[in-house]
């Protein structure tokens, strides 16, 4: 770093004036820079996120239909009333809950186990970790579409592998065509895709546990089993909970993968809320009704996430 060689008039003036004014002469003040730097981002988010959100809330009280030029009427809370008493919507909520519960269950189980195994630090674990991670970075729509091919009766690879190991005829079942199997077909693909996410976060959690804690436990002759339940699990728990939060929010919004895999069918057994919402908004064009639906979903995800974050912070404090 070099000293400024010649004193400019501005610098002379700066030395003679109180520091705050001096800074303004030398360039923009920190506060001005802070505002100039933050403002464009905030402005863009206001325009593309908040303004539409307010618009949605406004539309949710109307009977507006985006494909018609009809007089828009305010109908108060009638949209909300209709949604909350509609049994079909409760069915899609159930489908979503089934999807959420089982994807998170399997992903936590497999993801944590994998992380725990990788943390044995066997040779080449970095390479295999990278390979395992690949599916989660890929486009869910493109991959989901290809899975419909793997799931085809008779010719599909999935059915072939299942029949190879169980002896069931590969043309006797259709993962995405049968009412009883379709909900599991989306659970399988989502688990395949997102287990590495939980795995990576758990791995970071396991690696954050210092060795000396285990060494102390060894000295105290605590069994491996006891070490696992009293050291490993509690110390990795905040990480695991964070991973579940991310997956929970993401899978609540789930659209692309499932719409390509089953399109909500057969019937509507895999019609998750996002798919149902798309149908109302962009196929039936009940814009006002769909807006109310969107507001309900947003309040639900936001409410559940806030409660969860409170619990997460409590676990962290321990």
């Amino acid at each position: 770093m070099t000293e400024p060689s010649a004193e400019s008039p501005a610098d002379k003036l700066a030395r003679a004036t109180p520091p705050r004014v001096a800074r303004r002469i030398r360039g923009l003040s920190d506060r001005a820079i802070a505002w100039i730097f933050v403002a464009p981002s905030i402005f863009l988010l206001l325009a593309v996120n908040i303004f539409p959100l307010i618009w949605t809330i406004n539309l949710s009280f109307t009977n507006f239909r985006a494909n018609r030029n009809r007089e828009v009427e305010y109908i108060g809370l009638r949209n909300y009333e209709r949604i909350l008493t509609d049994s079909d919507i409760w069915l899609t909520m159930q489908a979503t809950a089934h999807f959420l519960f089982w994807t998170i269950f399997f992903q936590v189980l497999i993801g944590f186990t994998l992380a725990w195994l990788i943390n044995r630090k066997f040779r080449g674990n970095d390479l295999w970790t990278t390979i395992i991670v690949l599916p989660m970075m890929l486009s869910p729509a493109v991959v989901g579409n290809f899975w419909t091919f793997l799931y085809q009766p008779q010719i599909g690879l999935f059915n072939y592998v299942v029949s190879f190991f169980t002896g069931v005829d590969p043309s006797s079942f259709s993962m995405i065509g049968q009412v009883n199997l379709a909900p599991w077909s989306i659970v399988i693909v989502d688990t395949w895709m997102w287990t590495p996410f939980i795995m990576l976060i758990c791995l970071a959690g396991l690696r954050s546990i210092p060795d000396y804690i285990y060494e102390a436990a060894e000295v105290d002759r605590a069994s491996k089993w006891r070490q696992f339940w009293t050291i490993t699990i509690p110390m990795a728990l905040p990480f695991l909970m964070l991973a579940v939060l991310f997956r929970g929010i993401e899978n609540f919004k789930m659209f692309d993968l499932v719409v390509q895999l089953t399109g909500g069918g057969p019937g509507s057994v895999t019609e998750l809320t996002s798919i149902n919402l798309k149908r109302e908004a962009f196929e039936k064009w009940r814009t006002g009704y769909a807006s109310a639906y969107a507001v309900i979903l947003f309040v639900t995800v936001f409410g559940l996430a806030s409660i969860y974050v409170k619990a997460l912070n409590k676990v962290k404090e321990r």
């Binding site: 988010l45 044995r120 066997f122 970095d126 890929l138 010719i155």
Partner: protein, 313 residues
């Protein structure tokens, strides 16, 4: 391991752990390898039973992906004479001739334009905002940061309703500019949060030294902080690019022709009697392989990227 440790896994444990992990990795990579393999099969091989692991590779899928073809009568085919190119020869086997290019090229180009455009903008805006949040006392800082993150929690379909109406009013429906703007806004949360983490890690002392040396705050930012944050900026950019590249919900609802990206297009590739799987697989391969390469390059920063910087190694 040379030094003895009572906590390290024994060789037998390592061997067992390694075997199980490798087994999982092999199973999990199968569908991806199957996509790549199917791209090089003939339609007949692709749907054969039992599924073919060994087959004669052909570029038929790739030819079908990039071209449109029409069936012609044997007489016309004869009149055309010998095929002049290798791709002509492949198509002629099925009594067809190439009618022109397919739309895949355009769609792929759209993905590139929208992906890079939105990545540039969101990283540019994100770097500025992240620097301000990292270094200055911004009023309501925590609230603003949480607000930025919360924009990511809304289901895309819920946001799409008003965006659809807004774009229609502004004439942005099905335009590159509209999609770039939208993806920039969606990626901004990721970009601000990740970059704030990276900039937080650069010691303030560097800038303070520069300020004492007579740099203005802006010069200190461009000449000291930016070079230090280069790795962080690069990995943030890749994460933004991958998101924009993979995005489907907005793309399928807000674009139909001019600005449609590849993800909504690839599943619509059809051949005779349903989806043309080798062509779909060829398109998927071309589309997915760049992301696989980026993932391998990014592996050190992966965890940070997928958790918005919440977990750092």
């Amino acid at each position: 391991m040379s030094d003895y440790s009572i906590t390290a896994a024994s060789p037998a444990q390592k061997w067992l752990a390694g075997t199980l992990v490798v087994l999982y990795a092999v199973i999990t990579i199968m569908p991806l390898l199957w996509i790549i393999a199917t791209g090089f099969k003939t339609p007949a091989d692709a749907i054969s039973y039992p599924p073919k692991i060994v087959f004669d590779p052909t570029l038929e899928g790739y030819v079908n992906l990039f071209t449109t073809r029409t069936r012609v009568t044997p007489e016309t085919l004869e009149a055309l004479g010998e095929p002049t190119t290798w791709y002509d020869r492949i198509v002629r086997q099925y009594d067809m001739v190439i009618a022109g290019p397919s739309r895949f090229g355009e769609r792929f180009l759209n993905s590139v334009i929208i992906g890079f455009g939105s990545t540039f903008l969101s990283v540019f805006l994100g770097t500025l905002a992240a620097y301000a949040f990292s270094r200055f006392k911004v009023p309501l800082k925590d609230d603003l940061l949480f607000f930025i993150l919360s924009t990511r929690m809304m289901p895309p379909i819920a946001v799409a309703i008003p965006i659809f109406l807004m774009f229609r009013q502004l004439g942005l429906s099905d335009t590159h500019a509209g999609m770039i703007l939208l993806y920039t806004a969606v990626n901004l949360s990721l970009s601000v949060w990740l970059l704030k983490g990276f900039i937080d890690e650069i010691p303030r002392e560097y800038e303070e030294a520069a300020l004492i040396d007579g740099y203005t705050r802006f010069q200190a930012f461009t000449k000291v902080v930016l070079p230090q944050a280069a790795t962080g900026i690069a990995s943030t950019a890749i994460f933004c690019l991958i998101f924009a590249w993979n995005e489907y919900a907005f793309a399928v609802l807000l674009t139909s022709g001019t600005a449609q990206t590849a993800p909504p297009f690839i599943p619509t590739i059809i051949g005779v009697g349903g989806q043309d799987w080798p062509a779909v697989a060829a398109g998927a391969t071309i589309f997915l392989v760049p992301v696989m390469v980026f993932t391998i390059l990014l592996r050190k920063h992966l965890l940070r990227g997928i958790t918005f910087g919440a977990v750092r190694k």
